[in-house]
Subunit: 233 residues, 2 copies
């Protein structure tokens, strides 16, 4: 464990949605009106979990995403993509896109008060299949560049065949809420006084390892280049 | 980038479910019949995404979980817990629990073939509210010990009040499927021959930072102890 480090004040934040159903009923103390919390989560996460209803039952799958605050939808656009054959992108009706970043494990003196520090965004809405070729191209570039910033500048353009095989859907960022927990454990006074149990936070972060070149990488391409180096730093 | 490292063969695996709807329609090459893949994902992940239907629309929230292969449900039990006031644990009908581990970013020569290496389990079923006190206690211990192995051995037992405030639900591990991608990019031959673009994998792993003690930690409890040290290693 580290010396001289202390856990910051415990805070719960929530970005309120303009609709009632995504305004959290519980833990209203977490309320926060700033949409920058939403952008923070969307920026930090690598993937989202897309929830749809298939034949009357919920189905949740992980998938890549990107967002465009200047997108054509209300409050900006969240983009998903996939094969035109994918069930989850072909459903009619509402979807729920949840994006979560895990920041730490919270160890309290009691089992009951154990928790996790996290940031999570929930975006609900009816997806729009993107048909406009320019918007499709922008969305697909955003998704690749979210994976590795600047990547589309070094790879060839999508072919017509590739574009035809890909479905792009847009979800408005309008109906969104964010929940976050930060800081140390919130213990009952009696347990703090009793002592004898370590309490605190185990921070969690993403670690990007050294780039592993493809076995068939040619000599010319063996230089990872700034678009790869950049993401590793 | 590393020297002398190569990306392993690209593989797609899928653990087939006994039901048709969780048997993936696409990418059947990923088929794998061993349930150890499911256990691997459930072990490696810190949280799940729970999908439910609320007033006709899908809702997906992140939450802690645990599993018990010897649990009372068919093929074992996945446990979730939360406040008795939580909407997502009080819904009637089916749920979908998706557990995802991100292992790497896959950079191909073309934007189209970019991908992620991941392992993801989808468990679908009708949750059972756990009423039996002994099973409730076991489930809650499993959830805390999944966060930090052995943790329940050093904290006090749950109080009657704490137990009364907590809902525990069980989902059978019976209807489950696993998808996984490993290995390097799968590029079109023409792009490999053209060269000039770096291709490979950026591995992603979880990094646990040094434990941060709570500000009100007493001297006696300041020793993190093996249950904390163990998880950091």
């Amino acid at each position: 464990m580290t010396e001289n480090a202390t856990v910051p004040d415990t805070t719960y934040t929530e970005t309120l949605s303009p609709t009632a159903r995504t305004t959290l009923r519980r833990n209203r103390v977490r309320a926060q009106l700033d949409r920058s919390e939403l952008v923070d989560v969307l920026t930090a996460a690598r993937l989202c979990h897309l929830g749809v209803i298939v034949k009357g039952a919920p189905l949740v799958v992980p998938t890549a995403f990107a967002y465009d605050l200047d997108g054509p939808d209300q409050e900006g656009t969240l983009y998903l993509h996939g094969s035109v054959a994918a069930t989850t992108l072909g459903v009619v009706g509402e979807v729920c896109v949840t994006v979560t970043v895990l920041d730490g494990l919270v160890l309290a003196r009691s089992a009951f008060h154990h928790s996790m520090n996290y940031r999570s965004a929930v975006v609900r809405g009816t997806p729009r299949v993107v048909e406009d070729e320019e918007e499709r191209a922008v969305a697909l570039d955003l998704i690749v560049n979210k994976l590795v910033p600047g990547r589309t500048e070094v790879v060839r353009a999508n072919t017509r065949k590739e574009l035809a095989a890909t479905r792009v859907v847009a979800v408005p960022l309008y109906e969104a809420s964010v929940k976050a927990r930060t800081g140390g454990p919130v213990d009952d006074d009696v347990d703090v006084v009793a002592g004898g149990v370590w309490a605190g936070v185990l921070p969690i972060s993403e670690h990007l390892g050294a780039a592993v070149p493809a076995p068939d990488l040619d000599r010319a391409g063996a230089d990872a280049g700034p678009h790869v180096s950049g993401v590793i730093v």
